[in-house]
Amino acid sequence: MTQAVATSSGRPTESTPGRRAAASRERWASIRTYISAAIIVTWCLLPFYWMIITAFRDVAFTYDTAFYPTHVTLDNFRTAFATDAGNNFTLALFNSFFIGATTTLIALVVGVFAAYALARIDFKFKFVILGVILGASMFPGVALITPLFQLFTDIGWIGSYQALIIPNISFVLPLTVYTLTAFFREMPWELEEAARIDGCTPGQAFRKVIMPLAAPAVFTTAILAFISAWNEFLIASQLSSDATAPVTVAIASFAGSQPQQEPYTAVMAAGTIVTIPLVLLVLILQKRIVAGLTAGAVK
């Protein structure tokens, strides 16, 4: 402390006690920050941690309350994938993946053009259209379910993949357009012109300059779109059959090895399988995901 006062003798300094008080206040503030940060991390991760250690716990010790792994076993994962209890988790994983990927692909292929127009071209009714798309992203899925249920019953689509993909588009497409628009607005488009001046053809400028620039934005948007389709439950729970049920529906109606008993450990194992890839993906792409989330300001 005294050293600090001595070195900064060039300008008028406060009295030493004042400085010391300020320093201790700062130390306190920093300690408080760390305590708060620890609370946030614990609150966010503890239930998740509990799911994982339960997933590895022997079913006979389901209600063990030790905060560290006990009675470790892989049985729950075997139960989760076992088909004899009536679960078909492998199929559900495939269904979720297929439905999510198809929805994302359709939304991206269609949405990328709209996003380009909204970000790059000044045209009439631009803000009306942005508003419509944003409004559509907040549209309650429950308002779609009744008419779609009847329509799909009439044409025999209940339980088909298209009956799950079509409603998903209603919220994935607006999210895609909105997020991509926000990303595209920030891209350095003048580089395209620069490439043209340097002798690129429009095709070359697009391939060599715009594509590499836009690829991360499109990729991030694809991840967000996929996650939102993967997490959908309401529509899938009503319009899917056993053969097309995605993981969210499968987990909600999971049957254990013993009937009449909630198979907690197997459900936690299934939940872990569903969650770990998402969590890893999100953590690896953390910065971009946060940027996409806040840029589009949509869930």
Binding site: W50, P140, S237, Q238, A295, A297
Partner: protein, 345 residues
């Protein structure tokens, strides 16, 4: 470029006015070309949204004015429905069900109709409580995450974990935590039937929802916070503003646009809450939200369900309108702010 070359020469005398005219016309044409180009690019999106949203809404509204087909309780014959007028709506709003001998009577308790106002009430209750808690906790989290300290990256990564977990899995996870022999009762040394009794069931849903969605709120508020330039705080400090004053007069007003957008998104999302109560309680113990009621009604009769989902849609629309109109949640401005925040970061 092409439009300017294609300009036909005009036989006007005043060269100045001709130039003006030409410039205005070419600007017009360029705008027209832009409009055309933009509409070609946007059309597929609008058409697709029309198919997946507008068409179901309209057919839902049409359905809501039809009677449910089924066995006539009076004659025992199969009836084909027919025009119902506002009958389906009055069933929900005024609790008037068709009486066996024609006319209407008050819907008997136990019917889905009689649950309408309770469901509306509990939906708004959940929305109000969860969004309030999420705003307060989310704001606090954002303030912490905005500080510079070692391990900040870890905190920011940790908050993404609840967000990334599917709601259905979240519901199952909290169902296990709140099981009678589960860890919640063990930790607090209680023996509460969390998902099996009135208020604990509501709190279980609220806690699970707050856990899952506060991170989203925190990240949006954080984006708003990062847009506030640091020197504003320095200036306020020099002027002797206390921590509370700095929060009240700088942070709050400057973060308000982003905050309002975040709150709007969350309120609209909370009003359609389905996954958590459906899995945690199945709608038992007074936790039937409007969405759950719609789903229950679908099995009983499409047309009545269509009226209820239209009502739900109208309720959510009104709430959104009130937010934008009176509470100043300017969505485009708010997201603009968030966008700027990203650039500054």
């Amino acid at each position: 470029m092409a439009t300017r070359l294609a300009m036909p020469p005009k036989g006007k005398k005043d060269p100045n006015s001709k130039l003006h005219h030409q410039a205005a016309e070419s600007a017009d044409r360029r705008a027209a070309a832009k409009n055309k180009w933009a509409s070609i690019l946007i059309a597929p999106t609008l058409i697709l949204l029309g198919i997946v949203i507008v068409y179901p809404i309209i057919s839902g509204i049409v359905m809501s004015f039809q009677n449910d087909s089924g066995l006539d309780p009076d004659t025992g014959l199969f009836t084909d429905g027919g025009f119902a007028g506002f009958g389906n709506y009055t069933g929900w709003i005024l609790q008037q069900c068709p009486a066996p001998g024609g006319g209407t009577v008050a819907c008997p308790p136990g019917t889905l109709e009689s649950q309408f106002w309770n469901a509306t009430g509990i939906t708004f209750f959940f929305a109000a409580v969860t969004v309030t808690l999420e705003t307060i906790i989310g704001f606090w989290m954002a303030l912490i995450m905005a500080r510079t300290f070692r391990g900040r990256g870890l905190v920011r990564a940790a908050v993404l974990v609840p967000w990334a977990i599917p709601t259905a899995v979240t519901a199952k996870l909290w169902f296990f935590i709140f099981a009678f022999q589960g860890i919640a009762n063990e930790l607090f040394n209680t023996s509460i039937l969390w998902t099996g009794s009135e208020w604990p069931a509501k709190w279980a849903i609220i806690i699970a929802d707050v856990w899952k969605t506060t991170p989203f709120m925190a990240l949006l508020i954080l984006a708003g916070l990062q847009m506030i330039p640091g020197d504003v705080y320095e200036a306020a400090k020099v002027d002797g503003a206390s921590t509370w004053q700095r929060f009240r007069y700088i942070t709050l007003p400057l973060v308000k646009p982003a905050l309002m957008v975040a709150v709007l998104f969350r309120v609209l999302d909370a009003l359609r809450m389905y996954d958590l109560p459906a899995i945690l309680t199945g709608g038992a113990n007074g936790t039937t939200t409007l969405s759950i009621l719609v789903v229950n009604q679908i099995r009983q009769g499409f047309n009545s369900a269509a009226a209820l989902s239209t009502l739900t849609f109208i309720i959510i629309f009104i709430v959104a309108f009130i937010f934008v109109r009176f509470l100043g949640a300017n969505v485009s401005e708010g997201s603009g702010v968030i966008k700027k925040a990203k650039v500054i970061k």
